[in-house]
Symmetry: C2
Subunit: 405 residues, 2 copies
């Protein structure tokens, strides 16, 4: 007769503070008729499948050691060199020592938290509302958040950054707000980072997704232009293959001062040792053949039309309930309820019952308090399905408001 | 004129406690004549490169969404099912809810630390000496270590496990000691885990590498046999593709109670969201075609011969300096200096100067205090090169002892 079973030790505290929105979405995904406006998913029909298949086979056959063996912790040297060259400009000099390859942009966020956050004792100045995934990545290290509301007239970057361990921004079509940070504010953020010493994270998954207008300079560009020589400034730039090629290869990159790259490599050693050699080699060859450049026009045309279709349907069906801005790029429309009684957490439940899914604002607020807005994605669904999703959302809003009146 | 640059915030404290042995090895790797007996690297000539190339292309072409899109956080359902079936036995019932796919065995270690360690406030009972990578994975969360010396006559598993958050073991050919934990001790560890409630980590990268004798039951098997029904016991089993196929795909798996898998999935969401779909699909197809089973005889024959070559050369050249046990599997010989003046940290410096590289015992000790032993790998190098490495090591030992006398 074995001894009686003892109770198990508990899980770490942060797990009880985790939001369950992702599991709600996954469960909802079981419903094939659900129109998913919640995620940030790309359109698979835009991927060059046959070319990637051929490229995968060539990568393994011609480079078996680079693709199948353990690789260097900070990434394949040739891919690091390529990323350095791709982001260098006449006033921004980058070398291999400025680049680390990460297993996705999500891992890039996790690694930065790992090297900069002292558990329970660090302040992050974060663009507000903030990307859910960044909050997920940093939650186990229990940071304090100082919200940066960049659109506020009185926003002062030096006050915002002083004393924070790092500042977190998504200057191009922020997730969730879709906001494009204007040039003057970019310059002010960079100047504040140099003045205060605070690290300045530039998370840039959507930098290729400009539907109108010329791309603005990156924070990294503005910081590099302040000083000649190999980059060693305070900006930590994060890029990803997910939006310009495909997400499933799980390849991202960090560009930063060499001392930061060295710290991130020490962190990566204990996280997953190195990123997939096969994924890295496919990324390298894809860039060398300019596959991202070749498919970009199609991506832009498709997503631009979908953004327009979503906004037109919203104008028709949601104008009396919501306010929003037409985003000039990215993947999302951020919409705020006109009626303060419209709680978007409650709306989510009704939306699921009506066969549509949005992301409520509470998940983009470190405190979980903002229940008045929502993020709506326009990249995954075709125009007619976006319109149907908006009609369902209008019914769900009516049901939510009826419940509260 | 820009404002003067402020000093930057410091990095998290754990980075200053990190060992630099990996960067020493990487720098040494620049020397093409160096004989690397330090790592735990497989022999690339054993990989079925053409078959994997073809399989990679098929995976992308036939399953573009599974391979190229974001996937479910805990892994592709078909791969989770396959792993569950592969490890099920008449007395161990596993389902998909018992399995999480990880981005390498290293990530499995990191995720377990993330869900079980409260920073600065948790005890790990760890088989001693302990795998360097596990120490790396858990260092940022600042655990206390309680060493488990399984070979000591007085070792009592219940005392060792009581009050610890989890116990960490490598029962098959432990890294670094090469030790095979005998059946009676496996049973006692499992019984102690059930009695105390302490989670029991079974890290099993070398479970397929038995060169003599029949494989012993896993801790997972022994725990499952205690109670019918889907597994919900305290053992957390970790496996990897790295030793039975290739490491570069970065695919590992965790088998555990459903509540643990759910917690690990929440942790993985904020670490890298999901593992590479391409890597997972290649793993799935490789198992379905039994590629690991087909190449295993060659792997075993090659590594067995190399182990014998290493031990024969050690017997000839190192017998007067070192004591060791002939391992019956795995990748390593663990050798202890007879002369207490032989400091293996110092030996590493001399070894590098002599063109050979070993892993000193200090890196396998959470306190870094054990400087009397070393880990020697036999899987990467052919027999004649192993013999040359041993001759160089003998010269390095003589130089180290000469320095101290």
């Amino acid at each position: 007769m074995p001894a009686p079973e003892a109770s198990r030790p508990g899980f770490a505290r942060w797990l009880s503070q985790s939001n369950d929105v992702t599991s709600v979405f996954l469960a909802a995904g079981q419903n094939p008729d659900l129109i998913n406006l919640a995620g940030g998913l790309p359109e698979p029909a835009l991927w060059p499948v046959d070319e990637l298949a051929e490229l995968a086979a060539e990568a393994v056959r011609n480079h078996p050691v680079e693709t199948l063996a353990y690789g260097p912790i900070p990434g394949l040297p040739a891919l690091r060199d390529l990323i350095a060259a791709r982001f260098s400009t006449p006033t921004l000099r980058l070398g291999r020592e400025n680049v680390l390859i990460a297993t996705s942009g999500m891992q890039a966020l996790e690694l930065v938290g790992k090297v900069l956050l002292e558990p329970g004792a660090t302040t992050i100045a974060a663009q507000s509302p903030a990307y859910l995934g960044a909050l997920d990545a940093w939650r186990p290290r229990d940071p304090e958040y100082r919200p940066m509301r960049l659109e506020d007239a009185g926003f002062d970057p030096v006050t915002a950054l002083a004393g924070a361990q790092f500042a977190y921004t998504v200057p191009n079509f922020s997730n969730p707000s879709g906001r494009l940070v204007p040039l003057a504010q970019r310059q002010a953020l960079v100047d504040a980072a140099h003045e205060t010493g605070t690290w300045l994270i530039e998370d840039d998954p959507y930098g290729v997704l400009y539907y109108e207008g010329a791309p603005l300079p990156r924070l990294l560009d503005l910081s590099g232009a302040r000083k000649p020589g190999t980059y060693d400034g305070p900006v930590v730039y994060m890029g990803t293959l997910s939006k310009e090629l495909t997400p499933g290869l799980r390849i991202g990159w960090i560009i930063a001062a060499p001392e930061m790259i060295a710290a991130l490599a020490a962190a990566k050693q204990g996280s997953d040792m190195c990123s997939s050699g096969l994924g890295q080699m496919i990324a390298l060859r894809a860039f060398e053949r300019d596959i991202p450049g070749r498919i970009l026009p199609d991506i832009l045309a498709t997503y631009r039309a979908r953004r327009d279709a979503l906004c037109a349907a919203m104008h028709e069906h949601l104008g009396e309930y919501l306010d929003w801005q037409h985003p000039s790029g990215g993947m999302f429309v951020w919409a705020r309820a006109r009626d303060p009684r419209l709680d978007t957490d409650r709306l989510l439940a009704h939306a699921l019952a009506h066969g549509v899914c949005i992301s409520p604002s509470s998940v983009f607020d470190p405190e979980g308090l903002d229940r008045g807005a929502m993020r709506i994605n326009f990249t995954l669904n075709a125009p007619e399905r976006l319109a149907e999703g908006v009609r369902r959302l209008a019914s769900a809003i009516q049901a939510t408001l009826a419940e509260r009146s």
